[in-house]
Subunit: 153 residues, 2 copies
Amino acid sequence: MIAIQDTYPDDVAHCFGCGRLNPHGHQIKTYLQGDLTVTEFTPQPHHTAIPGFVYGGLIASLIDCHSTGAAAIYRMRADHKEVGSEPAPRYVTAHLEVDFLAPTPLGPVRLVGTAREITDRKVVVDTDFFAGDDVTARGSAVLVRMPTSMISG
Amino acid sequence: MIAIQDTYPDDVAHCFGCGRLNPHGHQIKTYLQGDLTVTEFTPQPHHTAIPGFVYGGLIASLIDCHSTGAAAIYRMRADHKEVGSEPAPRYVTAHLEVDFLAPTPLGPVRLVGTAREITDRKVVVDTDFFAGDDVTARGSAVLVRMPTSMISG
């Protein structure tokens, strides 16, 4: 399986959350599994809200970048293209919502996304954020194609 | 002026975004200025979305932690208490929304918050996120008092 982020064009692969070319960043990897998009991540010990629990900003960040990757995956699938068959379309977030349902214990987390809407103009991705078997947060993001004004390459 | 984060009790001052005791984190500082709550921050060069622009996850993270600080400030003010007169009440985010309005050029940013609602149960904070004179994002957060189950001290 190929992660969508590994197919981002080089000039748009420096995102702190998901860019494979950002050595300081999280470098998340998102995969299509059936109809779901899945990202797994292990926070660092210092990514705390209070000791023992994951910082909400990281949760929001992971949902954000997971959603941009998921949008690219769902767009390609709607166009009958396989991930890896060509450079991924790049999306940016127009709107992000996160409900923090319960404290997230520090440890591996898993984000599971579904596509609520796929149009030419946007993709809407809903995400369940898991710590073990518990959904500790839910996210929803509206993703639009990256404006060409942002692309320098 | 005293930043609200500098009055967080030691056992709840390790947040990656706003804890003064987290040496790896952002250590943001939020101040009351008139009716506004203000946080200034300079992203690191690697906090990029694509080269030259700030990563949306950081924007969401800053709005999140700014809002928890602002909630404490507004709660204290409603109780006729000055920041610094006693340890700050700690809030956590129940719901976070961010509208990304325009790309945020990499450079200093300023968050300006207002209180939309202050009740015993929650505080709702709206935030304008500035790059220079431009509002590049808007946030809204619902903050509730930190559950005692999260406090180990």
